[in-house]
Symmetry: C2
Subunit: 357 residues, 2 copies
C-alpha cells in the first residue's frame, strides 16, 4: 500500500521522538512492502515562529490532504507569554476541529515490565490496569464561546461556555459502545449530571443508545467519584466515555497510574479513517536536544495509525511486539529506569525497537 | 461561651454520624464550660420529603440565624429520579450560595496510623501527604446559567456557562495566600489557562495579589497536570487554590490518596465567621441503619467548626487528639479495618472518641 502521512514535528524535544518514529515506519514499510510518503506540516510553536500563527490554513490543508497525521507534541516556554489565540495549544485545538476529530482514544494500560513504576500499590496494580478513555474532543468548554468583558461596576468578568448538542453526544457515545463491544463489554459514562445541563443531555442520549447495544454493560459515574475510583480500583474500568474537559483531566490521571506516561499513545478520529496520532505526553522542554527523551509513545502512536487508519493490523502488532521485546530485555529510557535495567538514549531506543521489527 | 448551631441531620446513614458528633460536642461543652444550642434544619432528601423542596427559605433562615452549621451528608437513591431543581444536591448548592460560603477548605492529610490504607506506594506516602485544597465554592459552572433548548434542526442543545468575575477570584485567592502563610508558605493555583478565559482572568488576579504576599512561594499548574501530580508526588503540595469544578474533582482525588475518606472533614466559609462544616464523604445509603458508618469525618468537621468559627482552638485540639488516641489504640470502623485492629460500629466509635476527651 501507498500512504501519505503528514508529519508535525512539534516543539522542544518532540522532533527527536518523531525522527525515531519515522525510522520505525520506514522499517515497517520496507518489511511489509508499503510506501509511506511524508509531508511536513507546521503546527504549534514552529508555525508561530515561521508564520506568526499556530496553524495557518495551508498547513491544515496539508493535514487534510494526507491519509493520516503523525504528531509529536507542541508548546514550550518560548511561546508561553503569547495571547490565547496565538499559543501553540490553539494550533492543536484548531487542528482537531479542522480535521473533525471528535473521538480521542486514550488507553491506560500497564506494561507488566513497568508495573513497579506505577505510583499505586502492587496489590492494586496486580488486579490489572487496562482501560480506555474515549474523550469527546471538539465540543464542550474547549470550543464554546470564551469572553471577557467589563461589568458595570468596572470589574472584569470572564465567561466560558460549555455547549453540547445531541448529535455531538450521540456520535461519541456510539464510539464508546463500539469500543466496549470490542473489549470486555463494559462502558461507564462519566459526567456531573447532578450539576450540569450538558451532563443531563449526555445521559438522555446515552440511555437512548443503550438499547442498541444490549451486549454492553452500561453504567454512569460522577466525575469527582471517577477521579477517586481511578486511583482506588482501576481494574473496575473497561471503557470510559466522557466530555472533553473531564476526559482531559481523567485521562492524564489514568496515564499517571500506569507509571509510564512516556509509553502512552493516543488516536483521534472523526467520521472517516483519517486520524491524528500523538503521544499523550508533552514536549518536554527541559530535556530537549539531549537525546534522552523516550520515543516509545510516539512510536506506539504510529502503530495505532497503522492499525486504525490504514488497516495494517499485522504491521501494528510488529511494532507493539518489538516494544514489548525491548522492555523484556531490560532496555529503558531515563524516565523508566529501574535497577538492573540498561538506560538508553532516544536514538538508541529507536535502534533497539528497529532491531526487533 | 454560648453558641447556636444549626444541625442538618442529612439523609441515609448521615443521622448516625451527626448523632455521635453531637455527643462529642456536648462533652466538649461540659468539659470547657460552654453551652451549645442546637436547632434542627432540614436540607436535601429530608426537606424534599417534608416540604417538596431541598432547601425551603425557612430552613435556610435557621442556618443564617445560627452561629454555624453542622451537616452530615445529603442524597440517596430515593431522590435520584427527580428533576434538577428538586434534587438533594440542589439544596446543598443553595445553602452554600445562601450563606455566601465562597471558600471551601479540604485538607488531604494522611493519618500515620492509616497510611497502609493509601492506594499509593509506601515510598510515595512516606514523603508525606499534607496539603489543603482551597476550592472556590459559589461561582463558576456550578452557578452559571444552565439551559437546554431545541436548535433549528430539531435537536436539543444544552449549554452550561462558567462565569468568574475579579472580586470572586480575589477573595478566594486571598484565602489561598493566607492559608499558605499559616502553613509551609507554598501556594499553587490550578487552572486551564491554555483553554479558558476564566482561568486567564484567575491568573491575572492572582498575579496582582502575589505582590501582597511576598513570603508565599506562588506557582501555577494546569488541572490535567495537577490530576497527575497528586498521584505521582503529593508531597510537593502545600496549598492548592482552584475554581469550583476543578476543586470538586481534585479534592476527591486527593481525599482518596489518603486512603481514608471516612476521616476527612471540610469547612466552608464566607466573609464572617459563620461556616458550614461537613465530612467530604457522601451519605452512604448502602450501609444506612446498620450502625457501621464511620462518624470520624463528621466529628472532625465539628472540631473545625470550633476552631474556625468559634475560636476554640484548645477544644478543637481536644477532639483531634482524641481521634488520634483512638487510632493509636487500633480502634477502627469497618471502612478502615486492617489486621490486628479492633472493628467498632458507629456508636462504639463515638464512645471511644468521647472517652478520650
Ligand atoms: C494542550 C492542551 C490544550 C490539550 C488539551 O487540554 O486538550 C492537552 O492537555 C491534551 O490533553 O491533549
Ligand atoms: C453533591 C455535589 C453537588 C457536591 C459538589 O459537586 O460540590 C459534592 O460533590 C461536593 O463536592 O460537595
Amino acid at each position: 500500500m501507498e500512504k501519505n502521512i503528514a508529519v508535525i514535528w512539534g516543539d522542544c524535544s518532540s522532533p527527536e521522538i518523531v525522527k525515531q518514529t519515522i525510522r520505525v515506519l520506514d522499517k515497517v514499510a520496507e518489511k511489509y512492502g508499503h510506501t509511506f510518503h511524508y509531508t511536513d506540516a507546521a503546527m504549534g510553536g514552529e508555525a508561530i515562529d515561521k508564520y506568526g500563527d499556530p496553524l495557518p490554513q495551508h498547513e491544515l490543508d496539508k493535514c487534510l490532504a494526507a491519509d493520516s497525521v503523525l504528531l509529536g507534541a507542541v508548546g514550550g516556554p518560548k511561546w508561553e507569554g503569547l495571547p490565547g489565540e496565538q499559543r501553540p495549544e490553539k494550533g492543536l485545538l484548531r487542528l482537531r476541529a479542522g480535521m473533525g476529530l471528535y473521538s480521542n482514544n486514550r488507553p491506560a494500560k500497564i506494561w507488566p515490565q513497568l508495573a513497579p513504576a506505577s505510583p499505586l500499590k502492587p496489590e492494586i496494580v496486580a488486579q490489572g490496569i487496562d482501560f480506555i478513555i474515549v474523550r469527546e474532543l471538539i465540543g464542550g468548554v474547549y470550543f464554546g464561546n470564551h469572553e471577557t468583558h467589563t461589568l458595570e461596576n468596572g470589574e472584569k468578568q470572564a465567561i466560558d461556555s460549555m455547549p453540547y448538542s445531541e448529535h455531538e453526544i450521540e456520535r461519541i457515545g456510539r464510539i464508546g459502545f463500539e469500543t466496549a463491544q470490542k473489549r470486555r463489554k463494559k462502558l461507564c459514562c462519566v459526567d456531573k449530571a447532578n450539576v450540569l445541563d450538558t451532563s443531563r443531555l449526555w445521559r438522555s442520549v446515552m440511555h437512548r443508545l443503550q438499547a442498541e447495544y444490549p451486549d454492553v454493560e452500561y453504567s454512569e459515574m460522577f466525575v469527582d467519584n471517577c477521579a477517586m475510583q481511578i486511583v482506588k480500583n482501576p481494574a473496575q474500568f473497561d471503557v470510559i466515555v466522557t466530555e472533553n474537559m473531564f476526559g482531559d483531566i481523567l485521562s492524564d490521571e489514568a496515564s499517571m497510574i500506569t507509571g509510564s506516561i512516556g509509553m502512552i499513545p493516543s488516536s483521534s478520529l472523526g467520521d472517516g479513517t483519517r486520524g491524528l496520532y500523538e503521544p499523550i505526553h508533552g514536549s518536554a522542554p527541559d530535556i530537549a536536544g539531549k537525546d534522552i527523551v523516550n520515543p516509545t509513545a510516539c512510536i506506539l502512536s504510529a502503530a495505532m495509525m497503522l492499525r486504525y487508519s490504514f488497516g495494517m493490523a499485522e504491521e501494528a502488532d510488529a511494532i507493539e511486539n518489538a516494544v514489548n521485546k525491548v522492555l523484556d530485555k531490560g532496555l529503558r529510557t531515563a524516565d523508566n529506569m529501574s535497577e538492573g535495567c540498561t538506560c538508553l538514549g532516544c536514538t538508541a531506543m529507536g535502534d533497539a525497537i528497529l532491531a526487533e521489527i
